[in-house]
Amino acid sequence: MLAAQVMLEQGIHVEGINFFTGFCVEGHTHAIRKQDKAKPKRNNALWTAERLGIKLHIIDVIEEYKDIVINPKHGYGAHINPCLDCKGFMVKKAREWMEENDFDFIITGEVIGQRPMSQRKDTMPVIARESGALDRLLRPLCAQNLAPTLPEQEGWVDRERLYGFSGRSRKPQIALAQEFGISDFAQPAGGCCFLTDPAYSTKLQDLWQQRGEKTYEIDDIMLLKVGRHLRPRPHFKLIIGREDGENRFLEGYRRQFTTLQASSHNGPLVLLDGHYNEDDLQLAARIVARYSQGRDANAVDIDITHHDKDATQTLSVPPMSNNDIPREWFV
């Protein structure tokens, strides 16, 4: 937002590009979880564009992005976050968009030293080089710490009116925002990608391990954001809705998964992901009973609907006690 405003102050025409990878935190979690219903559901990229008075293009990169997550050339950060490859990929896509739409250069809000992987003095040139953007990539907030880019050399942009920010502190950016009269801004980057989240990363690694290969589809990565995940056996796991919003969301997957739900008591909708036999169903039903309101009853009826047989069976099972659910089953 700030980098765009710096350009607008110089009379430069700016349009925004927002890439949707499937791993964004804000929109989906808000849409799914009931407890977030009270929060405003604004899309921050759209909100920022409107605040700046610029157009915004949202680009679906889900398919192409898979290769970045699965085979990052520069490796992962602390979790499954391929930040350097991700940044290079996005700038490359922005460069392609720039060329297709007759724009002259790309700006980003990067600041040297802001992030440990993709915003270091030694990695920022890697992004410019590998994206193919080269000297058409301008970082207005830290440009004075970097070699002049083409827009500066050509005089399209006044280098003296760019900035030399560096380091992790956001104080200079916040002060500049105040100078521009910007008092409300989106959460700074870092917490906006599920791949930086340890719990999410564990679930994705579990998915890959059980499949025996690093692959995913959009439904896989959506379901990792939802519910409580338990893997009682290596060949199947349960996705248990934690509240009404999640149960409603999981309803949409009834045709793709075998589902379990208590019929004698209130309880969550549960998806069974994987292969199972009759013993597995008994075990799954006892776990589902544990998460129903019949957890203290002698027996709970669990309806099991097999998605591939279009048939429902009911098992009456004693709920598993909390102590009988090993910690290692929780993914």
Binding site: N18, F20, C24, G27, H28, H30, A31, I32, K37, P40, K41, R42, N43, A45, L46, W47, A49, E50, G53, I54, K55, L56, H57, I58, I59, D60, M222, G252
Partner: protein
């Protein structure tokens, strides 16, 4: 001028916006697009996208489970 329908049900934001954006690229000025969504976030995001890109939301109907947003292409 013609009227078109877009089914964006079960998609979570920003997918309804992306589908709307991509559909409008194929339409002519003055065309009408009726977008049906289930994600309540679309109620804010689709009109915001329309405002910043010069399209006009003519009507919004919300019932218990669905939202229908009617857009006039280049209508602002």
């Amino acid at each position: 001028m013609s009227t078109h329908q877009l089914d964006a049900r079960r998609l979570l934001c920003p997918m309804p916006v992306i589908r709307t954006q991509n559909c409008i690229k194929t339409l002519d000025s003055g065309d009408i697009l009726e977008v049906t969504c289930t994600d309540p976030g679309a109620l804010i995001d689709v009109p915001t996208w329309c405002r910043i890109n010069g399209h006009r939301v003519i009507n919004t109907i919300t019932n218990e489970n669905e939202i229908c947003i009617t857009i006039e292409v280049d209508g602002s």
